[in-house]
Symmetry: C2
Subunit: 143 residues, 2 copies
Amino acid sequence: MTVIFSKKCEYGMQAVLYLAAHQTEGVTRVDDIAATLKVPKEFVSKILQSLTASGIVASKKGKFGGFALAKDPSVIRLIDVVAAIDGLEMFDSCVLGFPNCTPDTPCPVHDTWGELRTLAYNMLTEETLDKFKQKTINKIKTI
Amino acid sequence: MTVIFSKKCEYGMQAVLYLAAHQTEGVTRVDDIAATLKVPKEFVSKILQSLTASGIVASKKGKFGGFALAKDPSVIRLIDVVAAIDGLEMFDSCVLGFPNCTPDTPCPVHDTWGELRTLAYNMLTEETLDKFKQKTINKIKTI
DNA sequence: TAAATTTCAGATAAAACAATCCGATTAAAA
DNA sequence: TTTTAATCGGATTGTTTTATCTGAAATTTA
């Protein structure tokens, strides 16, 4: 099966977008996120813990606790979530799996795929969470 | 860990490019392919068996047997190998993992990522093995 | 202080993926 | 016909990813 981002990373991006969409409501409980996104509660909880360690989200323990974005959504990018969970190796490794594919000894698709990879990287880097906010709210409502 | 194609698919693409580069020499043994590409012999053997079932490569059993491309390299595309091994779901499923992301109810990055996906698909579809042949030979020699 | 509710942390289980093993079958050559 | 060398096919093992479970710690309210 072909995959782009791991489940952890997908759920992490979904959760962060959810938090951005619900930012005005203070902290959000894992139960709410998991129920809305229909993903395993304990799993997304672990992911939010690691995103807390990465400084992307902030947690509040105890009664009426939960999670919120740690920074303004205008400075959080999807690439930050990817970097925190999956790492950025996919933007730097050979799509055919050749271990020593470099600009000097490129694989047959090195140049063409490189363009694509740069496009993907720039897309995830330039767009910040606040740009997705409205879209995300609409999306969440349709789930 | 982020991944684009599975190991099976990577090895499959590598093996097919190897066969294209060695087409003039008749059949090629799995041992040769595995040794040159530095991938597990039994694993790549299984992959070649499935590519045989898909009609992309042909096998010759017994002494002096081995594998060769089943068609002219000008009609075999990398997307054919991807389709046979990993399937094409990645070109049709949401990059954020939203289960019901559609043009009507798109995820926040649906449109931008869709462009990228189309580019990737077209690239893998339009380029045939013969175009990679010389590059592959060079590549194989540097491994 | 006690009760309620939440995150945190570690262990474990289940599933998917990657790799290996082994004997059977096939085919060419001596 | 026997030997040799290759693919084929099924079962098995190992590793990583995904998911779950349980109890501790933290925080608010009564």
